[in-house]
């Protein structure tokens, strides 16, 4: 069996398990004596709870218990938390209302948790949940930022009387205003970044289990970061002490951010398990997922760009109102602030930037990180402005971008970030060739003969990944550090287990992480297993989001591997009877420099454990090393995506004809997996641009798009075969040179699509999602000289 090197296209090891139906997801886990939880959810967006009458429900068949917010309060269980403190311009801390796991006196969105019914079967729990009578005094809701900020709007929480959670800013206002004052040209846009519902294939689920013998809890849950869940549930919510709470996130079927957060349902399941003395299981149905998974995006933005007479960008001014929903979810406050505004420089050398962001409460589901988290919103603002600015001054949009690209690294932007490496011209050049940009005019004319409007659009995106240096995020208000941990356990015969604090929920860590170990230790990839997702096995970790598992998680593994090799050299020195300094390790062999004496990795592992050849007092037996890796900077993946599409002006139907993606992800461990991530990301980005949009009814606060009958997901048939390529500038900020690739597609795609659509119709008035109806209207507005069919 051969060594698998970094850079090889290795087929995913975990897929055999998934494809043959042997995955173990949370819903596959059943504990002896388990009871089932169903939540009574609010049918109203805003109401005061006058009374909850559970008497009829309690006597229904199979009912074990019915618990409400009062029971939680009586047990002194704390509310859910938001782990990132944002301070307003005036220095005041953000105004957060309480977020009880079961409502206390008020409900604030349709789907809010009012009570939990625990019964022998799911159906019995459902029946009883329907029999719980809640007396609501219904109030008027506000579902969008404009109405929430209007004078006299009802306050979602008394703590934020005007519904403003924070009024935050970043950048130099005076310098920005001064640049605008002397600008030759100003491009201004009003932008709505549509609200999205994550729709992971596996819905959320939780099983709470309590062992009274040891007074210990186990929570099986659909989590991207089980250690953070344990920390929050123990230290803040207080359901169990940290050392008595084991959190297991087994196979997880997609998260896209929505499974980072610590939710009411899992909190209730652990707590209730002790209360009723039985394991308690809850699995979300799809309707609940639509209503209560944290949503994404939902910004309303006014953005302006100032240019000089040579088409150089002088400054950027951005004002954003971000809908945060009814409660602050775990990282809600960081997404429209520090994950957003620091990316507003894009790939461009912009001397002055000023951004203001208001975080706003509304009577809607909480909004938090969703694939890209803040960076898609920033990229959309920058790339729309750049495209429109180029059109307005009559310059080719590719040339305009190139004129403003950053070319010297490191580059300090005016908004926190210090870009460490990149070659934006290289990506643009390659993308223009692959997309046959020169031939576009011909293709457009040919399409016009068929009655179609053809358009082309660019997105020259950047993202900040690998989040992030702990001290840096700490200074920005994060409640946690964002390092990662790894432990490499070498077994006596030289097989290896890696325990990682990263968590795979579709990313293929079992393959790429094993590939790194195989490469470094010179052992077959089959001899490596990756362990993650269990707080009793992995001591501590920060989980997976923000494209951090390669850059940060694998760097921790690399660090631990270095220590394993160093220890192996010590053992080898005794075995090979040479000085430690003369031992070399290469291709899976320890050898004495300048001789033919050597020992294989497996032999040395065995010697480390039998410990016959060395003095156990001078050298510890065993071969097991751990490492914590804290990155020195964010990483900055960047690239150019080009979308070419056609619009049918008769119906508004859009077909994507060609997609070209050239990304710089730094060093790539496994191109097959990277391409998969890019494909999925583009599909989600196209989903945002053309199809997906959460709609709340403004009068009632009902979620209109609460099923697939109304919420339109992207489909395979909507997409062409992508042209995906890369350029490489290794990341100088981590030992592996990795930048990260998990979110790039979703970040790049929306602007590329909308730039292509506006190019096709010849004006800028195209909303997201650009549904057929919206595009039909946009075509009519354009009044293209195309004859009716």
């Amino acid at each position: 069996m051969a060594v698998t090197s970094i850079g090889a296209r290795v087929v995913r090891k975990e897929d055999h398990r998934f494809i043959t139906g042997k995955g173990q997801y949370t819903d596959d886990i059943n504990r002896p004596g388990q009871a089932h939880a169903v939540f009574v959810r609010s049918p109203h967006a805003a109401a005061t709870i006058r009374r909850i009458d559970t008497s009829a429900a309690r006597s229904m068949p199979g009912v074990v218990a019915i618990l409400t917010g009062e029971d939680l309060a009586a047990d002194k269980i704390g509310g859910l938390i938001c782990g990132w403190m944002i301070h307003s311009k005036d220095g005041s801390p953000m105004k957060a209302g309480a977020h009880p796991a079961l409502a206390h006196g008020k409900v604030r969105y349709v789907g809010d948790h009012v009570a939990v019914v625990i019964a022998e079967t799911v159906l019995q729990a459902k029946d009883a949940a329907e029999a719980v009578v809640v007396d609501y005094a219904v109030e008027k809701p506000v579902v969008d930022v404009a109405s929430a900020l209007a004078k006299g709007a009802p306050a979602v929480h008394a703590e934020a009387p005007d519904n403003r959670v924070f009024s935050w800013h970043l950048g130099d206002k005076a310098a920005t205003d001064a640049a605008f004052a002397k600008a030759r040209h100003v491009t201004a846009l009003d932008i709505v970044n549509n609200r999205l519902i994550p729709n992971a294939m596996e819905p959320r689920a939780a099983v709470g289990d309590y062992d009274s013998g040891n007074d210990a809890f186990t929570l099986y849950t659909t989590s991207q970061n089980p250690h953070v869940a344990r920390l929050v549930l123990s230290a803040f919510i207080g359901v169990a002490p940290e050392h008595k709470l084991r959190v297991i996130a087994p196979d997880v079927g997609g998260g896209f951010g929505s499974k980072i957060f610590i939710y009411a349902e899992e909190t209730v399941c652990v707590w209730a398990a002790k209360k009723v003395g039985r394991p308690v299981k809850w699995t979300s149905d799809r309707t609940e997922a639509f209503l209560s998974d944290a949503h994404g995006r939902d910004h309303v933005t006014r953005a302006e760009m100032a240019l000089d007479e040579n088409g150089r960008i002088l400054a950027l001014r951005v004002n954003t109102k971000a809908n945060l929903g009814a409660y602050l979810s775990t990282f809600a406050s960081s997404v429209p602030t520090y994950l957003y505004a620091p990316l507003l420089s894009g790939q461009y050398d912009i001397p002055a930037i000023y951004a203001e962001v208001d975080g706003v409460y509304t009577h809607t589901a909480p909004v938090d990180a969703y694939r890209g988290a803040g960076r898609p919103e920033a990229t959309f603002v920058v790339e729309r402005l750049v495209e429109v600015a180029a059109r307005e001054i009559g310059m080719d949009p590719a040339r305009f971008r190139a004129r403003n690209y950053i070319r010297k690294f490191p580059h300090q932007t005016p908004v926190i970030m210090a870009y460490d490496a990149g070659d934006y011209d290289a990506s643009l050049k390659k993308a223009l060739e692959l997309a046959d940009y020169k031939g576009f005019g011909r293709r457009k004319r040919e399409a016009a003969r068929r009655g179609k409007l053809r358009g082309i659009g660019f997105s020259s995106y950047i993202e900040a990944c690998g989040i992030a240096p702990s001290a840096a995020v700490g200074s920005l208000g994060a409640g946690v550090g964002l390092w990662e941990s790894a432990e490499v356990r070498v077994n006596p015969i030289g097989t290896v287990e890696v325990l990682t604090g990263s968590h795979s929920h579709g990313q293929g860590h079992e393959t790429t992480f094993a590939q790194l170990v195989s490469d470094r230790l010179g052992i077959p990839i089959e001899n490596v297993s990756i362990v993650h997702g269990d707080t009793d096995k992995v001591q501590m970790g920060m989980g997976t989001y923000g494209s951090r598992s390669g850059a940060v998680g694998m760097s921790a593994i690399a660090k631990a591997l270095d220590k394993v090799i160093a220890k192996g050299k010590k053992v080898a020195a005794h075995v090979l009877e040479a000085a430690e300094g003369d031992i070399e390790f290469k291709d899976g062999k320890f050898s004495v420099a300048g001789t033919d004496r050597s020992a294989g990795f497996g032999d040395i592992a065995l010697q480390a454990y039998i410990a016959h050849k060395f003095n156990g007092q001078e050298l510890e037996p065993g071969l097991k090393e751990g490492a914590f890796y804290d990155p020195t900077n964010f990483t900055f993946p960047a690239g150019v995506h080009i979308c070419e599409l056609e619009v049918d002006p008769q119906t508004g139907d859009v077909t994507i004809e060609k997609w070209t993606a050239v990304d710089d992800f730094g060093v790539i461990i496994n191109p097959l997996i990277v391409e998969g991530q890019v494909h999925g990301g583009i599909a989600q980005g196209v989903g945002q641009a053309l199809h997906e949009g959460a709609v709340y009814d403004p009068a009632t606060g009902q979620l209109v798009t609460a099923s697939y009958m109304d919420y339109r997901m992207p489909r395979a048939e909507d997409l062409p075969s992508f042209v995906v390529d890369t350029t490489v500038t290794p990341c100088p900020s981590n030992p592996l040179g990795i930048k990260g690739c998990g979110e790039a597609g979703a970040i790049a795609a929306p602007a590329a699509v909308v730039n292509a659509l506006t190019n096709a119709v010849g004006h800028e008035d195209v909303p997201m999602p650009a549904t057929p109806q919206a595009m039909w209207r946009a075509c009519r507005k354009a009044a293209q000289p195309l004859a009716a069919e």
Partner: protein, 267 residues
């Protein structure tokens, strides 16, 4: 789903008698409309009577100038039937754009017609082709059968047994799919048989499938897309929702009608 009683009769007579006796009985055909409603607890029949074991309710047959399709015939069978493709290719095309493969392999024509979803495809074909719906009790002309949103002429206890389609000389169906559900946002079936031209519209109207008489008149002059140029039904009576307002739906009906005529002429 709520609990219910389940029966699987082996004759039409038995099915009818079970249906008559049950207090709130519902027939089950392919289950592609009924079961989702039951799972969402939006439908809660006390008794479910499965037609799956009733003999003589499936099959496709050409009988002289008619095509006869048994009520329990699956969508996929109609889609792939050489008999249908020969007699009324537009019908095979219609089914090919209905739902997805899973739905087409379970769903039935009888279930679709009895359900009469205002955005379903089959009702447009029945109305435009002047089909006759044959039940265990009588024969009902399509013109009389569809009576509004999820409403038909079927009486309590009545079971659709088969559908008889007169074979047209020309027919075409064009559907603009609802972005999310894939039902018809606007679907238009045009058919010409001798001097008779019928145009049926589904998905767009607020009271279900309807005949667009203005278009029928226009096509009498010449059966060509051009005859419909500039013709759009009134927005009055058009459906309106987040995906398509009345003006857009009305416009789509016009476009789909022209394209349906084009398709009808293509053969």
């Amino acid at each position: 789903m709520y609990a219910f009683e389940f029966h699987r009769p082996t004759s039409l007579r038995q099915a009818a008698s079970l249906l008559g006796k049950a207090e709130d009985g519902r027939l089950l055909a392919g289950g592609q409309s009924l079961l989702p409603m039951m799972k969402l607890r939006l439908a809660s029949p006390g008794t479910v009577i499965d037609l799956g074991a009733v003999p003589g309710m499936t099959g496709i047959e050409r009988k002289g100038r008619s095509l006869v399709i048994g009520a329990m015939t699956r969508h996929a069978e109609v889609e792939t039937s050489p008999v249908v493709k020969e007699a009324i290719p537009a019908l095979a095309h219609l089914v090919s754009v209905l739902g997805d493969p899973a739905v087409r392999n379970r769903g039935t024509i009888g279930g679709s017609l009895a359900n009469n979803d205002p955005s379903a495809d089959y009702p447009a074909a029945c109305l435009a082709l002047g089909a006759t719906i044959v039940t265990n009790q009588r024969r009902i002309a399509a013109d009389d059968f569809f009576q509004g949103v999820f409403t038909t002429a079927l009486e309590e206890g009545e079971i659709i047994v088969k559908v008889v389609f007169p074979i047209p000389s020309r027919a075409g169906y064009e559907k603009f799919r609802h972005p999310a559900s894939r039902f018809a946002l606007a679907g238009v079936f045009v058919a010409r048989r001798g001097g008779e031209i019928r145009v049926a519209v589904t998905g767009a109207g607020d009271s279900g499938v309807f005949r667009w008489h203005e278009a029928e008149e226009a096509l009498k002059g010449r059966f060509a897309p051009k005859s419909l140029d500039g013709l759009t039904p009134s927005t009055e009576g058009m459906n309106s929702d987040i995906h398509a307002d009345a003006a857009y739906r009305a416009h789509l009906v016009g476009v789909m009608a022209r394209r349906a005529v084009e398709r009808a002429l293509r053969r």
